[in-house]
């Protein structure tokens, strides 16, 4: 590891100017902090955090919708990380305290089992291309889903297009890439390296990015060879588009990003909770969902602010009492900084 750090230092010195590398995967955010990699970087190499935590980018409207469905008596299942994210009407955990039937699952297969006992169960589907194939699989098996699934590349493209901050290179998400492969990244003219999740993986990937930046190359390279194949997993990728249409996606911090969302195809509308429970959802007052608070999750997701720049961080917003999703999720930037930055 010492060797690779020396190589990073040498090439950073040659580059001279400040270099901004954004990691866009929650698991990378966690790993960078856990291994203290940000502190190992040369002064001119800045590692920034992007919108890679699916829980964090789930919109307030979607949280308010699912909490209201639960409170109206519909049983809800979702992944554990989502349970404590507060919306205007509280979190799913708080809905459970009020008597709603809510299940935290590790795998969507568990939701299919729970559905046998509770046939009107709704699964709150979230996540990027890594997790969407499993939801598609379960919809084919007859599970009703409220989809907030998103495609990852449109968010990276949006960050480049908005141009609010300097991005010299992306550390690309290893497990999204395990599904989508390498080709889709080629449409973006920026230095990119698909990285694994160990300290060595990330340091090697940072070196590969710095080398590209020094050589003025804007290509996609794959460091995570043991999991990411050139073609990805075509079966899993196809599963997504068997069941979902690409639609506008509503992201916390960005708002609507065109063509970044996954909505259930008409063919499977019977299993689309947004259609099945439209009457309940139409009665929800979403005007509060967009109410501004001093929570800076939106800017943190876009890489514009670090958690320490939020006035709530560590004061009223803690991992025991999270105000925003970035503090709830174990991969959210605020939660990660709260645990590791002393």
């Amino acid at each position: 590891m010492k060797n690779i750090i020396e190589k990073i230092n040498k090439i950073a010195e040659k580059i001279k100017k400040d270099v901004y590398i954004m990691e866009v995967c929650g698991t990378h955010t966690e790993a960078v902090a856990r291994y203290g990699l940000r502190e190992l970087m040369p002064k001119n190499v800045k590692l920034t955090t992007g919108p890679g935590c699916p829980v964090c980018v789930t919109s307030q409207e979607d949280i308010d919708a699912i909490v209201n469905l639960a409170l109206s008596g519909i049983p809800v299942a979702t992944y554990g990380d989502m349970m404590r994210v507060p919306g205007y009407y509280g979190s799913l955990d708080q809905a459970r305290e009020k008597g709603a039937l809510i299940f935290a699952v590790y795998s969507i297969d568990e939701a299919l089992t729970i559905q046998k006992k509770y046939p009107n169960l709704v699964f709150f589907g979230l996540g990027f291309e890594t997790t969407a194939p499993m939801t598609a699989y379960a919809i084919k098996k007859g599970l009703t889903v409220y989809s907030t699934h998103k495609l990852f590349l449109p968010a990276m493209q949006a960050l480049l297009k908005i141009g609010e901050l300097k991005i010299d290179g992306f550390l690309c998400p290893g497990h999204v890439s395990t599904i989508i492969g390498i080709e889709p990244y080629k449409s973006m003219k920026v230095s990119q390296v698909i990285s694994g999740f160990t300290a060595e993986d990330i340091l090697v990937s940072v070196y590969m990015l710095l080398k590209q930046i020094f050589d003025n190359k804007k290509i996609v390279e794959n460091e995570y060879l043991r999991s990411v194949k050139k073609e990805g997993n075509p079966k899993a990728y196809q599963e997504i588009f068997d069941v979902f249409d690409i639609a506008n996606g509503n992201w916390r911090g960005f708002g609507i990003i065109p063509q970044s969302g996954l909505e259930i195809k008409n063919k499977y509308k019977k299993f689309n909770a947004k259609i099945k429970y439209k009457k309940i959802l139409d009665q929800v007052d979403f005007s509060f969902s967009r109410k501004l608070t001093s929570c800076k999750c939106g800017e943190i997701i876009r890489g514009l602010k670090s958690p320490q720049e939020c006035s709530l961080f560590k004061k009223v917003c803690t991992s025991e009492n999270p105000i925003g999703p970035c503090m709830v999720s174990s991969e959210g930037a605020c939660n990660v900084f709260f645990r590791y930055m002393k």
């Binding site: 929650g26 795998s107 890594t130 043991r226 997993n233």
Partner: protein
């Protein structure tokens, strides 16, 4: 949330495989990787195998992961 771990398939029954994660065994859905066989190494995310790994690469990954 996109966490995934490497493991070794020790038995297969239809779309379900028993996977050994360095001593911890768990039943995993293999519908998204239908080509996998007993003794293959796979990357597992939320209870589903998402990719088959090369043996050597998987052994190295297991050494790092556990």
């Amino acid at each position: 949330m996109c966490l995934a771990f490497p493991g070794k398939i020790i038995s297969i029954k239809k779309n379900s495989a028993m996977v050994d994660f360095d001593g911890i065994k768990k039943e995993i859905n293999i519908s998204l990787t239908p080509e996998v066989k007993k003794n293959d190494y796979v990357v597992v995310h939320t209870g589903f195998a998402i990719q088959k790994m090369g043996k050597q690469e998987a052994k190295e990954a297991l050494k790092i992961a556990f």
